[in-house]
Symmetry: C2
Subunit: 144 residues, 2 copies
Amino acid sequence: MKTLKSINKMQFSPIKLLTAIITVFTLTLLFSTTTIMAQEKTQMVRLVKIKVDPLQLDSYNIALKEQMTTAVRVELGVLTYYAVADKNDPSQITILEIYADTVAYQSHIETAHFKKYKETVKNMVKSLELMDVSLIGAAKKEGL
Amino acid sequence: MKTLKSINKMQFSPIKLLTAIITVFTLTLLFSTTTIMAQEKTQMVRLVKIKVDPLQLDSYNIALKEQMTTAVRVELGVLTYYAVADKNDPSQITILEIYADTVAYQSHIETAHFKKYKETVKNMVKSLELMDVSLIGAAKKEGL
């Protein structure tokens, strides 16, 4: 407590305050960028094309979204999912998947949430096509 | 100058300094999240499939990356691009494109950088397929 009190007696000028704020802001942005660059070297990227039973599409989309958000939240190596539906036929779904590496992917398909998803959708999915791809490039607004 | 000098005479305790830093950090993250949620309602999302002349693939990829990074950097309404190549045939390219809305897209195709890209690649592209899609969901690690 003595140390805390003595620290609290120290005083900083507004210039120092501003400098500290700008430093934190810059380092936060810089760290994000560095993380992305480090991960891209080993990434496993895939396009998945799924044809879903149109009568079960709502249930399928709920299960898919739950799987995606859970995996990204709890698994370190699950980086990115984008799932899109053809506007002319929403039962034609394409998913872009990015994992840190193939080890992260192998670990992912053994998780309880992925197995639950597979069990839930097994009678909803009419066909499944997996395509291994490599990332040519990505560009995104900051924070997206 | 008098005002600046008097501001600089003000003093802040380490607790105030820490509070200010945490506030900036939190607001930065919060603002990003809010932006995403606001934009999703009107977004225009598209999958583009491009077959490129294999002999001109390197030149095509350079032109594509320049177009993507420039558009995201200078156009407010150009949000996200992911370009991927089939591992079995890297001349088969798929691009996921997200614009804030259709107005942003119409404005995008009138820009100098997009027209330059179109001119550069006109003899490199063998076929082009545009598919309007809707976003079922996206999940990404913070900072990606």
